[in-house]
Amino acid sequence: MLIEGKFTLQAPIQEVWDLLFEIDTLAACIPGAEKIEPIDDRTYDAIVKQKVGPITVRFKFITTLTEIDPPRHVTAEGRGEDIGKAGTFTQKTSVDLTEISEDSVEISYSSNVSLVGRLATFGERIMRAKAKQVGEEITKNLQERLKSRIAS
């Protein structure tokens, strides 16, 4: 499934770029992120927990940054699985930063997620709706982080 979106941040493009690479900040912005650890300078190991009603999943996944073009573009690819064996997924995500002005940046992201397993057969529509919600929460958290960073 394709998850896309865009939003604008009032900050210089370099600041936004730097923020995206701060692992601790990213971890704090992703709801349910239990850990994000760098394995090398392009690869990260992560565990994210998500709950939809009575169903809880803990995804363990590896993400590799395949294209890094500072400060405008990054592509990430990865695969992961639910620790409870309810499903596995692969993803390819691209994030583009476009400078609107000296102090404002548009961030657009496009994530192609392929989900296989019980979560996919039963949960396709739930996952899709939840993914949209999670995407919105991440962007909201990122925006708040940047706002408080710029304010201070």
Binding site: G53, P54, L119, F122, E124, R128
Partner: protein, 291 residues
């Protein structure tokens, strides 16, 4: 395959609540199992303790009073509601909704309480009950709570039910005079869940074609059943015309928050909302005129 669990079959509400209080998050409640068994068979939900409440006869009833309206026990099956003589006049929309809910087999086992507590946003009962201003009661060892059904559904598959709590009853107030309620859902296969569902209830001011009150509730358009309040404002307090229904449909389709999935795209769902709100609104008006 379903993972092994310890099984309890309480016969009274008190017994059930005691078990729930003891096992808290480690147990799941099962009634008709029409929603839970699907999850358990897929091993998406694997409770250690299963509390089967189907045998609690004190929660299985339909009571009807001319002034108070309906009181439906949480363990009443969909089929019982569908066939109940109490579902007449202003409540006939409940029997109609139940008639199109899933299949007879599911309706014979599934309960209204289980359906509401499962909180699937595509569910048929919730939009209709919300259009009818339904309230509900819950019980736990700590006591009872009452709330509007509209406030009970919080998110995908999440309700305001607290650990140790059971839904016990749904109340549907007596229908005010000159009120008509209708429901329609679009699906591709008969007996399938709603791609989009719309319930509308209209109350007319006496004899002048003025819309005294209106409730428009959308199903399968958001993470919970959704009141299309902006669309309601188009009609509330005004003399009803076909154009107003068209406008309400338009506004509701913008207000809705549907997603794209295997059944339909977001755009198609919005189009369905636009058409169904107008169509169901007109049906509700026709019923209000006859009431």
């Amino acid at each position: 395959m379903i993972r092994d669990f310890e099984y309890f079959s309480p016969k009274t509400l008190k017994e059930a609540l005691t078990l729930l209080d003891k096992y808290q998050d480690e147990c799941k409640v099962i009634a008709g199992g029409q929603s839970l068994l699907i999850l358990m068979r897929q091993r998406l939900v694997m409770p250690e303790y299963l509390i089967d409440i189907k045998g609690i006869s004190e929660l299985n009833y339909i009571k009807s009073d001319a002034k108070e309206g309906l009181r439906i026990g949480a363990l009443t099956t969909h089929r019982a509601i569908e066939k109940s003589p109490a579902m007449k006049n202003g409540f006939s929309v409940l029997a109609e909704m139940e008639h199109r809910l899933a299949s007879i087999q599911t309706r014979n086992w599934g309960t209204i309480g289980g359906n509401i507590c499962h909180a699937d946003p595509t569910g048929d009962p919730a939009p209709v009950l919300i259009a009818l201003n339904a309230t509900l009661s819950t019980a736990s060892l700590k006591g009872k709570r009452n709330m509007a059904l509209e406030d009970f559904c919080l998110d995908y598959f999440e309700t305001a039910l607290e650990p140790g709590e059971l839904l016990t009853e749904i109340q549907v107030p007596a229908v005010p005079p000159h009120t008509g309620t209708a429901y329609a859902k679009f699906n591709i296969i008969e007996s399938d869940m709603a791609t989009v569902g719309v319930a509308v209830s209209i109350t007319l001011g006496s004899g002048d074609g003025m819309c005294k009150d209106i409730r428009i509730v959308l199903g399968a358009c958001a993470s919970t059943p959704m009141r299309a309040k902006q669309a309601e404002e188009v009609l509330r307090g005004r003399k009803i015309t076909d154009n107003l229904f068209k406008e309400a449909g338009q506004i509701a389709s913008q207000e809705a928050e549907p997603i794209s999935d295997i059944s339909a795209s977001e755009e198609y769902r919005r189009e369905l909302v636009k058409v169904l709100v107008a169509r169901v609104g007109k049906e509700a008006l026709a019923r209000a005129n006859q009431a």
